[in-house]
Symmetry: none
Subunit: 206 residues, 4 copies
DNA sequence: GATGAATGAGGATTCATTCAT
DNA sequence: GATGAATGAATCCTCATTCAT
């Protein structure tokens, strides 16, 4: 597993960053491994020393993104209790942070799966399923408790995730909206989407 | 304007279909123009007779998609009255139908803008803005009338559109869910997202 | 023989002019028959209606150049008497006028022979030999009469022709030097090269 | 500067020779880079490893020709004294040797400038101007000293250079005339063209 | 551990040319 | 007589990758 022992040599990191940018700008098929090496100020042969192929580089990139996202998700879930609403907010925050992170990483995760080989594809699909299930579990729990009234929990989940994903497409860190603002808004939006109805709101807010 | 006089020669249509599939499967950069021609059962030189370059082919493809989407949107809006809720539902139906349409067309619209030249990029951006504005206008109207209570109409709009867009990624026409079902669900979801509160609710719910 | 009945239809002339320019700018191999047609404002198929191939077009071009050059040479020779010096001056004038004529025509004559097929190559070589022989005959006559003292009439001839040919490379009609000035200078130079020594110079100059 | 550190790897040299021949036979536009590689017994990709483009290959070729010509010119000038006549003869010898050298190199220098990019074009133009100026300086010096009586030193210079250049077109090393003979003849011819009149001729001829 | 040289396959595109209309 | 459509071959060049050093 590459994610248990993340490769953090300077060469690796420079290459991953360069690859992220190139892939994001031109797509996997359009990116040139030469340009990636040059962008990382690394010799072409050195790139092949680190990563055996273009696909492997893509996989490492996507995998590393997943590492980060998983880490943030787990960390944030650790700061909240059992309340599904709170947990959903934590997951939304993690996803917004991820999609608002280093340019490109995020879009790649969405579109360049097809460029992976079958094994790597399956591996990442599995990791993605884990991330999806974190949402599913929380939403299902909320529904089970009667806190989330949405009649279609699956569509609600997909909507929430899609909305967060889309952030990568339009939000810019140097724009008027801060990431924290975004987190607030999308947390709230997520609760709207699942049709959150808190219990005993009177007592709670007193 | 290519959209006023759509090129519907058999060669054009076969090439657009083939290009749609290839681009969808491999990405613009990864697709081979040779393979596209072969898939369309057209000679390579004939392809260049129709479309001057790979980029132009992509542009024609995306532009044609926009033609269809625009057409459906306008048609469906024509079937409803002034009620923003109805109009929003019409727009959602149009988008769901579009995203559920021919495989690929839809995803391309989302990711391969970068592969266009500056002019074509701008041209499609403009068309996309028109489509976005249809949603914006309807949502803003609903908010102005007090029918939509969402505090963040922009995020609501983005969420609705992102949710519909995502359909292209997971929904399959041969699956358990019909497109009509999807339209119902996402129309309802959209109203949830904008926090629709119909007037005279007292009478209705009594 | 194309030179006895020169094809002077408007289409022909436009194509020859366009071809002259394209060939001159890009060389025969580098020129595109499409660009030539476009430059002549003639459809590609029309070009092929006039000239059966790229080579044929080149041949017609070179041949037409030869027509003009031959014509001028013969005309000018007709205006002078038997004196080899006068005749040499006439030939130089004809050649300078030709090399100073429509851009390109002239350079082509020098370099693009190789691009012709064997037959056309031979045909033009023969015409070129005729032109060369006009110089040879005049110089040999001058030498025989003791008017031209050059010990190497062949080299003298080549030098004179080369000098005139080179005019096409550096002289511009819109520059400071007029073509008539050039004719004077190169006539004189030619006489220098053949080491002209007029007879009875005493009487003449008295 | 490529001329200070001439690339003399075997691959480079083989490619330059092959390119010289191909370009000479077919012209720059008509030559195929594949054929050049094949002629040099080098893989196509290796060619591109050495020279980034067809143009670059042409430039290297012309540049190398200039290197040789410059070298010979300077060397031969070093063997003579200050006498303009002697110096002119040295320059003529250098040019005749160059034009009589490896087939093609020479013709290319004359016609394929147009095929270079603007920068390379300018670079070679500059080198060519240096070579031209060597002639100009010597001829002007001869005129200033009253040794060369030509009334048009510029035309004389152009004529001498054109005559020597033309050698590449007709002279063959395996013909009846040796290069040394040619050198003698053209040196003499050059002095005729500048109308050389040695001082104290009476004493010398007595 | 790192690299410059080398390569075969394939990239997009343009070529001169033909032919049905 | 004139042309738009179509084509197979060839264009220059770049690709991801390997290997001797």
């Amino acid at each position: 597993m590459t994610n248990t022992a993340p490769p953090r040599s300077p060469g690796h990191q420079a290459l991953l960053a360069a690859a992220r940018e190139e892939f994001a700008e031109r797509g996997y098929g359009g990116a040139s491994i030469r340009d990636i090496a040059q962008r990382a100020a690394v010799s072409l042969a050195a790139l092949y020393h680190y990563y055996g192929s273009k696909q492997e580089l893509l996989h490492a990139l996507l995998d590393e993104g997943m590492d980060v996202y998983d880490q943030v998700s787990v960390d944030l879930l650790g700061t909240v209790g059992d309340d599904p609403a709170e947990r959903l907010e934590a997951l939304v925050e993690a996803l917004v942070r991820f999609r608002g992170g280093p340019r490109g990483s995020s879009q790649l995760e969405l579109t360049e799966f097809r460029s992976l080989g079958p094994e790597q594809h399956a591996a990442l699909r599995a990791r993605q399923a884990v991330a999806t299930n974190r949402f599913r579990d929380v939403i299902d729990a909320g529904v089970a408790l009667g806190l989330f009234r949405t009649p279609e929990p699956d569509d609600a989940r997909r909507t929430i995730i899609a909305a967060c994903n889309a952030i990568a497409q339009w939000w810019r860190p140097d724009g008027a909206i801060t990431l924290d603002t975004l987190i607030d808004r999308y947390s709230s939006l997520a609760l709207t989407v699942v049709e959150y109805r808190p219990r005993r709101i009177r007592a709670a807010r007193t």
